[in-house]
Each structure stands twice: as C-alpha cells, then as structure tokens.
C-alpha cells in the first residue's frame, strides 16, 4: 500500500465530511514557488501550515488538468495529467501526502459533463461518423433537438448546438461552445471517466467535486436536467469507488432546487454531499432586507437527507453569486442591492467576492459566517475571503474573483517573485482591498483581524460536532429581524440567535421546553440567566449574534 493512502493517515470514518470545514482554492492563484507568475503544487504545499492553522479539514482544488483555459480550466484537454504550469504528477502526489500528514484531505474538481474541444477525444470524434470515438460526443444534423433545454451561459451563448465544419454536423454543449458535452449513452465514455477517477484516487485524492452533474444525459421532451440515467450512472460511480477505496467523498455541483438536489443523495448510495445553492442568495437577501424569512423558508423547503449525506454550504465561491435558484423578483432585488454597477452582473448572477458584497462591513462578514456555520451542513470557505479580499470587476468573466492570494504587503502581494507583467492576473492594488491593506501577514499579527477571528470561529465550530451532525429546528421569534434556531445532537443542544438588522434589536423566544437550563455563550463561555417559564428575552447590537450551549441540568434527563 502506498503511504499516500488515506488509511495510513486517518482514522477510518466514513462520515468524516459531515463535520469538516472545506476550503476552496485556485491553485493558479494561491502561491507561486517557481517564479513564473502562476501558482503551483509546490507553492501550495508551502502554505499547508497556514491552512492547518486556519483549521481546514479538506482542501477543494479547482481544475488543474491540462487545458486551453478558455473556461478557467473547466475545459479539460487531458483528464490524466497535471497542467505543466502547476507542476508534475509527482509534485501533485507529494502535495497530497503532505496535506494528509497534516490531517487535511484533498478533493478536486472533476468535470464529468464535457471536455475542451481540444481534447484528443473530440479531435478524433469530429473527424466523421466512422472513427472509433465518433459517438463519444452528442452529434446532430439539426439544431431542433432537445429544444426544451435552457441555455445556461446566456451572456455568451445563443444555442446549445454549435456547427462543426470538420464533421459537418452540430455538437451539443450545455456550457461554452468550446466545451462539447460527452455522450454518456455510449458506455465507453462512462468507462473512460471511471478510469480517470480511479487514476486520481490511486494517487491519494480523497474525492471529487463533480462539476455540472445534472447534465450528463439528454432526452427529447425534457429539460435534459436531472434525468434518471444520470442518477443511475452516478450510483455506478459511487458503487465502484466504495468497492475499492475507503472514506472518499463525492460532492455534487447541482445548481437546482433542494427538492431536486436531494435526488443526488438517492438512498445514501449516490453522492455523499451536494451544494445547497439556494440558501446562499437568501442569506444575502435576508441581510439586506433585515428579516429572517428568506432563510427560514428555504430551509423549510429543504427535504431531509439520508444520515450518511451532507449539504455543502458556502457564502461565495469561484463562480458568480448565482441567482438561478431565485424568483425573477428576487433576482431583480438582488441585482439592485448587490450589483449597482452592471459590470458586476454575469449570466444569472453577480461576480463579486464576499467582502465587497458586504461593503467591507466587519459585523456583516462575521454575522454571515455565524449563520453559515450554524446551519446544517459543512461550510466551504473560498480562498481569500478569510482575510476579506476584494474583487476586480474590470477583469473578464469570473477572473475578478480569482486574483492572486494576498500573503504580504510586499511586491505582488507575496504571491510570486515573478515580474509583475508575468503574473497570470494582476493582484488587487486598490486602496481598500489591495494587498497593501489586506494581507495574511498583517492580519496574522493583529489579534482583532478578520483572519484571527475566523480561525477562532472555525475552531469553535469544530469543537461542537452538533453543527455538522445535529438536527435543525427554526424557532418562532417575536421579532422577524431575528433568526433563531436550535441544533441538537445526542445530549449536545445549541441555540443560535442572529440579529439581521443594522439596528439594535430585542427578541423574546419561547424556550419553555428548556426550562431550568442555563445558557452558556459559546465564544466567551459566560453564563446567561437561567431559562424559566416566561419567554426568554435577548437583546442584540446591530448585526449581533449569540450562540449558546444549553447543557442539561444535573438530574434533568
């Protein structure tokens, strides 16, 4: 057995991901060890101590495969190697081993649905209907097929079909026209993808974030999303991985309503995790409207999931703040409130980072993390948000939220020693969010910085498995501006109360079923008045929150 095997470094714990804190990062943007202006695996390895200190359990890598980079690496031209600018396969394996050694796991993006048009499979397939890979992609002589499927990248694509002059036919693509969809009707495609998954698992990878999974299969008369064949294939992937590997995780990216996403958990035999997309815009909406209802409603609408599954929760990620899973009215509201400059819009979303979305407000950033960490699911942090990095709306596509990590106030923000002009993207240099104002080095030294606060907060959440494992129940409150809920796991009960308003608020909570217990505030560990029969009164400063533990009284059981 190779020593990179997770069995060597971790206690066997199939549900490890339920109490984990994830950290999503862009290899390209993290740290450059080779002075060529592009981040790489050796550089990331150098920064593992930082991630360990922050309390990260699992690193999620964005695609690092060879790619023409017309879609941030989601256009893969070879599934079985590392893009040369990131290093070698050996350096990849050494990075994974070093992460494991520090108690951190690593998952990576894997793009199931499509390839780059430069992938050799597509180059072969386009040669004509007679070559061995002719059916590896979805070809058609007409664009009048699958007409009920929506166009996802509405800003750049007019159709899901693009004419290929080499083959003289149209090929199907749900995303960019340079990203032809693979044809999963052909079993050879599924086999090839499984082989690729095994290749990375054998190198020690702990799992995959499966990109764009709802679109694997197409069928006439449907919207070509979430089809039964897609679920059958994912179940096969799960079964084959479970048969040969332990403690691996499949995290589905299915930007859908919760009632559709839960199908990706199936009976606990499909994906281990799936992102909860709709809760995220509603957190921003709740904050702007200063009311708890949007969050409470979407969680009410979220069906229960199998015991061995978990939601992935996030505030921001590498994509735009997606507004596909909101109503048209809500979308207009979000655009008006969070994307004042039309450049900030992209497709159906807003391409901005957390801190600028919240106008750099420290109270707002803390409150949003508090709500995120208190909800049932595993939080996924996006690199740079822990120091409150900004974005650059003048960069194209989603590059504005993928700028170099800001390590120091020195040249290039400490990201690279290359010439500035060589950098893959310029680091932020504006006076508010630029690297001279916002960087790891300075925040490490300041006990009151966002980074130091978040490190403490991650540690607090991890002390209490209830946040990952416990039940969730929203509480009725006397004040609609206050979001209060109870989490319970075994004998651990916590009460989380958040004031969404920008003004001080008071709330009365009916806690009579916890009568006799003495709430202990979890950050400062101070005791609050004992819960009696009467409604429990709490007061908050603007955007304030309390997390309480409600220990059982001795003899209360």
């Amino acid at each position: 057995m190779s020593t990179s095997a997770t069995e060597h470094w971790f206690e066997s714990r199939p549900n490890w991901f339920k109490t984990a804190v994830f950290y999503e990062l862009h290899l390209r943007a993290f740290f450059d060890s080779s002075d060529d202006g592009v981040g790489d695996f050796r550089g990331l390895r150098d920064k593992l101590d930082y991630l360990q200190w922050l309390g990260i359990d699992c690193i999620w890598l964005l695609p690092f495969y060879p790619s023409p980079l017309r879609d941030g690496g989601y256009d893969v031209s070879d599934f079985l190697s590392v893009a040369p600018e990131f290093g070698t396969l050996d350096e990849f394996a050494s990075f994974v081993e070093s992460a494991h050694e520090r108690g951190m796991r690593v998952i990576s993006d894997f793009i199931m649905n499509h390839t780059s048009s430069e992938h050799p499979w597509f180059q072969e397939s386009r040669q004509g209907p007679d070559n061995p890979k002719a059916d590896w992609y979805v070809w058609s002589d007409t664009v009048h097929r699958y007409e009920d499927a929506r166009i996802i990248f509405v800003d750049s694509e007019q159709s899901n079909w693009t004419f290929d002059s080499v083959r003289g036919a149209y090929f199907w693509h749900r995303f960019y026209h340079h990203q032809p969809d693979l044809n999963y009707e052909n079993p050879a495609v599924g086999d090839a993808m499984l082989e690729a998954l095994r290749f990375w698992l054998d190198l020690g990878l702990d799992g995959f974030r499966l990109d764009a999974v709802p679109y694997l299969f197409e069928e006439e008369g449907t919207n070509c999303e979430n089809l039964p064949e897609t679920h059958t294939f994912l179940k096969r992937v799960r079964a084959e991985i479970d048969a040969s590997y332990t403690d691996r995780v499949l995290l589905a990216e299915a930007n859908q309503w919760p009632e559709d996403v839960v199908d990706y958990f199936a009976d606990g035999d499909e994906c281990h995790m799936a992102f909860h997309f709709p809760v995220m815009p509603r957190m921003f909406m709740a904050l702007r409207r200063e009311e708890a209802r949007p969050i409470v409603e979407i969680l009410d609408r979220t069906p229960p999931i199998p015991e061995n599954c978990q939601w992935g929760l996030f505030l921001r990620n590498h994509d735009e703040l997606t507004l596909e899973m909101v109503t048209d009215e809500e979308r207009d509201y979000m655009y008006a409130e969070y994307a004042m400059d039309p450049r900030m819009k992209l497709n159906l979303g807003i391409r901005r980072r957390l801190a600028p979305l919240l106008d750099g407000g420290r109270d707002e950033i803390e409150l949003m993390h508090a709500i995120l960490f208190s909800l049932p699911g595993s939080p996924v942090l996006y690199y740079g948000d822990e120091i409150g990095m900004g974005d650059n709306v003048y960069l194209g596509d989603r590059d504005g939220v993928r700028t170099p990590m800001q390590w120091t106030g020195d040249r290039n923000g400490g990201f690279s020693r290359a010439d500035f002009a060589q950098l893959f993207l310029p680091p932020l240099m504006d006076p508010v969010f630029g690297f001279q104002a916002v960087n790891v080095e300075a925040q490490l030294r300041s006990p009151t910085s966002l980074l130091r606060w978040l490190q403490r907060f991650v540690a607090l959440r991890k002390e209490h498995p209830v946040f990952g494992l416990g039940s969730y129940e929203a509480l009725q409150t006397s004040n609609p501006r206050v979001f209060a809920h109870v989490r319970q796991h075994e004998s651990d009960t916590v009460l989380c109360v958040h004031n969404l308003a920008r003004s001080a608020q008071a709330v009365e909570l009916d806690l009579s079923r916890f009568e006799g217990r003495t709430p202990t505030e979890m950050i400062g560990r101070s005791s609050f008045p004992r819960i009696g029969e009467l409604p429990y009164l709490l007061t908050f400063g603007p955007r304030g929150f309390f997390w309480f533990q409600l220990p059982e009284e001795p003899g209360d059981a």
Binding site: E7, H8, W9, F10, E11, S12, R13, D46, K47, D49, Y50, Q52, W53, S94, E97, S98, E101, R102, G103, T246, W407, T408, G414, V440, E441, L444, R445, P447, R452, Q455, R456, E463, H464, P465, V466, L469, H489, E490, S491, D492, G524, R525
Partner: protein, 420 residues
C-alpha cells in the same frame, strides 16, 4: 475468558476512566465500545476501545483484556507482557516482568532488565512519532537513545498505527528529574556540571534528526514565510484563552493583569527574522525525558511528543529551539520544586548556571542551519518558546495545582522584565 463483545459499556468505562493514561480526565465519557480486536493470541487480547463523549466526539484507547472474568486491564500480567513482547518480535517467554510505574500516557514494563515493552494507549491514525524517530536516529547511529528492538502494529480499521514497541532497557542511575531533585540534598552542582554535556547531546540529537534529506518526513525544511507568525498567533490565542479563564487567586495576582503585556511581547518576539530550518524534534523535552546512564552519559527517551497534542501536531517539523525551551523551563521547575517539596532553597544562580551551560553546550555543537543567523535572534526565539511553555504551565497549574502556580508566575514576570 469472557467474550470481548459481552463487555458492557460500563465495564469498559470502569477500566478506562480510572487509568493514568486516560487523557480526557476533564471530560465525562458517556459510553464505550470495542471497535477492534487487533491482537488475539494466546493470553493476549488487545481491544481498541472507543470512548464517546457527550458532544459526539470520541477517542480510541488500547486495552489489554483479562483472560479471566475480571474487568481490569491486564497489560502488566506476566504472561500477557511476555507474549506481547514476543509478538513485537522479541522472544520473551519466561521473562521476569517488572512494572515501570511512572508514566502518564502509556504503559511500560521491563523484561528481564534487558528490554522495555511499551503499550501505546491513546491511538490515533498515522505513523507513531516515537517509532519513526527511533528508527531515524538508529539510521544515523545516534548513540544516546535506547535501541529499538521490535514493534507491533494494528493494520486497521479503525486505525492503522503502532500498538506496542520494545526498546533496549538502559541501565541508569535514574531519570534527570529525580536525580536533580535528589542532588540538592548533597551536591547541588550535579546538574550544572552535566548541563553542558546535556546541551551537546541535544545538539547531536537535532543534527541526527536533520540528517536525512531523502526522507520527506525528516528532511529539514525552510519554514514558510508566515511560519513564525502562525506560531506567534497560536501563542497569542493561548494567552487570551488562558487569562480569560484564570481563577481568582492571590498567587496569580502578580501576572493576572499582565495579559496585554505578554501579548505585546509575543507580537515583538514573533516579528524576529529568519528562524532556521524546521526539523522533527523531540517535542516534549524536559528533565524527565533524559536518563543519566550507569556509563555516565545522557540518554534521551520518550519521543512521542506532548500527549495532549494531536498526532499531526506532534509529528510536525518545528524549530529545534522549542526543545531547548522545554529543557530550560524544566531547570526552573526543578529549582522551584525543591523549594516547594523539600523546603530547600537552591543555591543562588543555580537555574542560570544550568541554563547557560546547557545553551553553551548546545550552541557549541549545533548545526547552524537549524538556528537563526544571530545570537540575538536565537535568544528571542528561545524566549518566544519559553513564553509558550510558561502559558501552558500557568494554565495547567492554575487549574490543577494552584500551589505550584507561583512557578510559571515567576517565569512570566522574568520574561516581562526589560532586557538588561
């Protein structure tokens, strides 16, 4: 013997809860269950017991089940120890078994005054740091450690890790700690006379740990740019947490209001220049971890690192100066303990004499790649790590032995004195 599966949660808890090696003494376990039986061989049944806490967390411990009906840990039973040592590769049938009673986190017996069998109690997945280090030191022919004779591993699940080891028994006059305390009765210069050599042996230990560039788990590493700042931040958080929960106590009065001064000091010391290469270290270095052998030299033992830290933390590469801070704090503890325990006043300047000789002996033999380039950089880093130890000591003593809290209080006040 009873079927191991028939042992109830209560039975298992009754074994675990009272044991010295049970780490979570300040938490109440809710239940326990056997989750693995990695060894079942003749008189030996080793069980991996999962102890669960109210919050939903758990820890794993090794328990040697008794062959009869008694609900006790059977590790020091003659036949169990003999057989375990044999399974670890050191035939020991019929060996005389003597308990080595003083440990906190594991259990050891001496076999025929030749070998020491150690049962690792708290199990975490991953390579056992002690066995890794003993093997690495043997490869470098570092002489001042006991030779590793054999190991016994669990291949998992639930964990893949070492269960037991056998090392050569080192005939010694005693441990550095006891010998030092005893020495105050007749010859207080005992340790000062040997501290220079202790520094030299420590330097040799670190050089040997830094010698293998080919093994990624031992190759010395240039610390990342923020490594020192990360450590300083961690120490700073420790100070904040420790002082926030410090009990009201007159003995603590002199430092109780100095948290901000200490945090300023961390800030200042954490901004030092380059700190030298990071290497695998002893990790829990103090006078109790060195023996004065009958051959008249220091022998270093117990390479598991601080028991309260997680395995990845214990295996982590760090500045070797952290080990030095452990030892220098141990000198101060010895001097103060003799006052508290025996009412004897140590000779004036005793701690300084030990410290100076130890540091000089170390620097004389040290591998310079592992140290800051200047003596002042070295002193600052040593002070930072001493501060880290002191904060831990303060927290521990204030909670567990308030009478002893004066020891870290004095140490902290000294660090806060302006440098002369």
């Amino acid at each position: 013997m009873p079927d191991p599966k028939s042992l109830s949660s209560e039975d298992l808890l009754s074994i675990v809860r009272g044991a010295r090696w049970f780490a979570a003494k300040d938490r109440t376990p809710e239940s326990a269950e056997i989750v693995g039986l990695p060894v079942q061989d003749g008189p030996v049944t080793l069980a991996i017991v999962e102890v669960r806490f109210a919050a939903g967390t758990h820890e794993h411990y090794t328990v040697a089940l008794d062959g009869g009906d008694d609900v006790v840990d059977a590790f020091d039973h003659q036949d169990v120890a003999q057989r375990l040592a044999s399974l670890a590769g050191v035939p020991s049938a019929g060996a005389r078994v003597r308990s080595l009673g003083v440990e906190q986190s594991n259990s050891s017996v001496v076999l025929d005054e030749l070998n020491v069998l150690k049962l690792y109690r708290r199990l975490e997945a991953g390579p056992n740091p002690e066995l890794e280090i003993l093997a690495a030191l043997a490869a470098q022919r570092f002489p001042n450690v006991p030779a590793l004779q054999g190991t016994l591993e669990a291949t998992g699940p639930p964990v893949e890790t070492a269960l037991a080891s056998v090392t050569a028994f080192v005939p010694s006059a005693g441990g550095g700690w006891e010998l030092t305390l005893e020495s105050f009765a007749d010859d207080a210069s005992w340790l000062p006379d040997r501290a220079w050599r202790l520094g030299e042996v420590t330097a040799g230990l670190h050089s040997a740990l830094a010698a293998n560039d080919a093994d990624p788990h031992f190759a010395p590493e240039e610390p990342s740019a923020e490594a020192l700042a990360l450590q300083a931040a961690a120490i700073d958080e420790e100070i904040a947490a420790t002082f926030a929960t410090l009990p009201e106590d007159d003995a603590l009065g002199a430092v109780a209001h100095r948290a901000e001064d200490l945090r300023d000091l961390v800030h200042e010391l954490g901004a030092s220049g380059p700190s030298g290469l990071a290497i695998r270290t002893h990790g829990d270095y103090h006078l109790g971890q060195v023996l004065w052998s009958t051959d008249g030299d220091w022998v270093v033992i117990d390479f598991e690192g601080e028991p309260a830290r997680s395995l990845p933390e214990r295996r982590r590469k760090r500045s070797p100066i952290r080990d030095l801070a452990g030892m220098t704090r141990s000198f101060a503890y010895a001097a103060d303990s003799v006052l508290l325990l025996q009412g004897r006043v140590p000779p004036e300047g005793w701690v300084d004499a030990c410290r100076t000789a130890f540091v000089d002996g170390y620097l004389d033999a040290a591998d310079e790649r592992l140290l800051p380039p200047s003596r002042s950089g070295f002193d600052r880093l040593l002070a930072l790590y001493e501060l880290e130890k002191l904060v831990y000591e303060l927290r521990y003593e204030a909670r567990n032995r308030p009478d002893w809290a004066s020891i870290p209080v004095v140490g902290l006040l000294r660090l806060l004195e302006p440098a002369v």
